[in-house]
Amino acid sequence: MKHYLGYYLSNMRIAILGQIQYRAQNYFYMVGTILEPTVYLVVWSTIANSQGGSVGGYTTGALAAYYIVWTLVRQMNVVFTPYGWEGRIQRGQLSGELLRPVHPIHSDISYFAGWKFVQIFLWLPLGAVLALIFKPVLHPTWFQVVAFFFAIWGAFLVRTMLYASLGMISFWTTRVGAIFELVFALELILGGRLVPMTLMPDWVQHVAAVFPFQWTFYFPINTLVGNPGVSEILSGLGMQVLWIAIGIVFVNIIWHFGIRRFSSVGN
């Protein structure tokens, strides 16, 4: 256990040192990711304004809060993409990883975790600017703030497991692009990425409950900007833990069979 902790800390340090050098690129990436919710925010604020100031229970201030916190949550849930896994597997880059005594997913998690610190640091001024422009309205309790901290790391882990499992499909087929895009589309609609889940019709919200997506976007965002009760927050965190556990199981199973195939096919 201590061995893993040491590895994590060391890899996180490397991530921080490395990413600090690429601050221009990190900023560009970040500005790119901020554009997406800005578009959503403007569209829905326009609708709200044309309807007397609110739509579906969200005032323009609440919408602003949702989408600005969205940008922070987005930084936290950026993980190694399934396309990255496809690349690794197709290009035989795994061979090096396989020789290490540590499962590659630990390398991904620890590296990205370290990177998060740089991202958050770089995000702060951007978040401040966004707040100045769009004037968010939010009144979180202390409990909400603390829970938010846990929820964003939960979102990171849920999404890591989800996309690692997805990416490892590449062990068996090269035609994975369409599958990835389908999952991304589902995440967009069912995860609270496009709009807060409560703006969706009821039946969509019921469908979304079956999938892990809303625990990566909607849940953490709402924890901070909405008015969830204590029990709602706690059960939400529990759901995150559940999905992480499911994800771990999937990752292990897929990896086990995938590696067998990878080694037999050779690369």
């Binding site: 340090r13 921080i16 040192l17 600090i20 050098q21 601050r23």
Partner: protein, 331 residues
């Protein structure tokens, strides 16, 4: 007397390289303050090359060979000096200049990966504007010379490294350039393939009178192709002349290989023993002693076979560097 095809006087290439230390504190500091070093990749080099020459650029990694080549092909602007190639200033990249040169970089392909080489050849033709009959004649001639008639129809990604290199070379020469810049062209290839490629370049040079500048690590390349070598080290020109002159001047030793009929003797009395196995000894002796020592061995031993050779070129190069370094201007 024909005009030199390449005329270079005192060209230099300097770079500013940022300096960064390890650790979190230094990384944070580098956010605010950057320090630089000046690296002299090429430092006041001069030479001229006549049409039809095949010149080898030798030197260790990072010596400045590739940088020099890039300045002559117009890819890099010299920090000082103005090279003249075929009467043009390379960095101006005039189409008339570019049509007469070609660049081949070992390890870096310009063939389309998913397509047969024939398609890439077509593209080359379109780019260089080679008239179709000339193009087809040249192309078919090269395909036959390199014996790749069937291979040109296969997607390049399905070819072996050596076969791919053959395609690269053909593609690079389809427009019958007058000057060839070859940067490590045989790197990574097996011995047979290296020989084949060298042969092809030599034939091209013979037939079309093209000038060839070649950089390589493989002494075999240089020995096989180049009569003249230019040795570069730390950006400076250390030697420019005939390969044989370099070997003569700087090789103070000869290597003697003796195959014994029987028996095993103490050979260290004759010279430095490099290698000794059952029935065969390799010795290194000072050059001037060669007649004397060989005579002694033949008289005193039961010899089946005896050979006298120059030491490997790598040793000679080392000698060149060590000697010149001693002359004092290298860091």
């Amino acid at each position: 007397m024909p005009e030199p095809v390449i005329n270079v006087k005192d060209i230099s290439k300097h770079y500013k390289v940022p300096v960064r230390e390890a650790g979190l504190k230094a990384a944070a500091r580098s956010l605010f303050k950057r320090t630089y070093n000046i690296v002299k990749a090429v430092d006041q080099i001069s030479f001229t090359i006549e049409p039809g020459e095949v010149v080898g650029f030798l030197g260790p990694n990072g010596a400045g060979k590739t940088t020099t080549l890039k300045m002559l092909s117009g890819l890099l602007f010299p920090t000082a000096g103005a090279p003249d190639v075929l009467g043009f200033q390379p960095s101006r990249r005039q189409p008339d200049f570019l049509r007469q040169i070609t660049l081949v970089m070992g390890n870096r392909s310009q063939m389309a990966w998913d397509l047969p080489a024939l398609d890439s050849f077509e593209l080359q033709r379109a780019i260089y504007g080679v008239p179709r009959p000339d193009f087809e004649k040249t192309r078919d001639e090269f395909i036959e010379l390199l014996e790749v008639k069937e291979l040109v129809k296969k997607p390049v990604r399905n070819l072996s490294l050596g076969e791919r290199m053959k395609m690269e070379i053909i593609g690079a020469l389809l427009h019958r350039p007058k000057v060839l810049f070859l940067d490590e062209p045989t790197i990574g290839l097996d011995v047979t393939m290296q020989r084949r490629i060298r042969q092809f370049i030599a034939e091209y040079n013979q037939k079309y009178g093209a000038t060839v500048l070649l950089t390589s690590h493989y002494m075999a390349d240089v020995e096989a192709l180049c009569k003249r070598v230019i040795v570069i080290h730390n950006g400076k020109l250390l030697f420019d002349g005939d390969l044989s002159v370099m070997k003569d001047r700087f090789s103070a030793f000869k290597t003697i290989g003796v195959t014994l009929a029987n028996g095993f003797s103490m050979f260290s009395q004759y010279g430095e023993v490099l290698n000794q196995e059952a029935g065969h000894v390799t010795l290194r002796i000072p050059r001037e002693k060669t007649p004397e020592v060989t005579a002694r061995i033949l008289a005193e031993q039961q010899v089946d076979d005896l050979t006298v050779e120059d030491p490997p070129i790598e040793d000679i190069i080392e000698k060149v560097f060590n000697l010149k370094s001693a002359e004092g201007d290298v860091k």
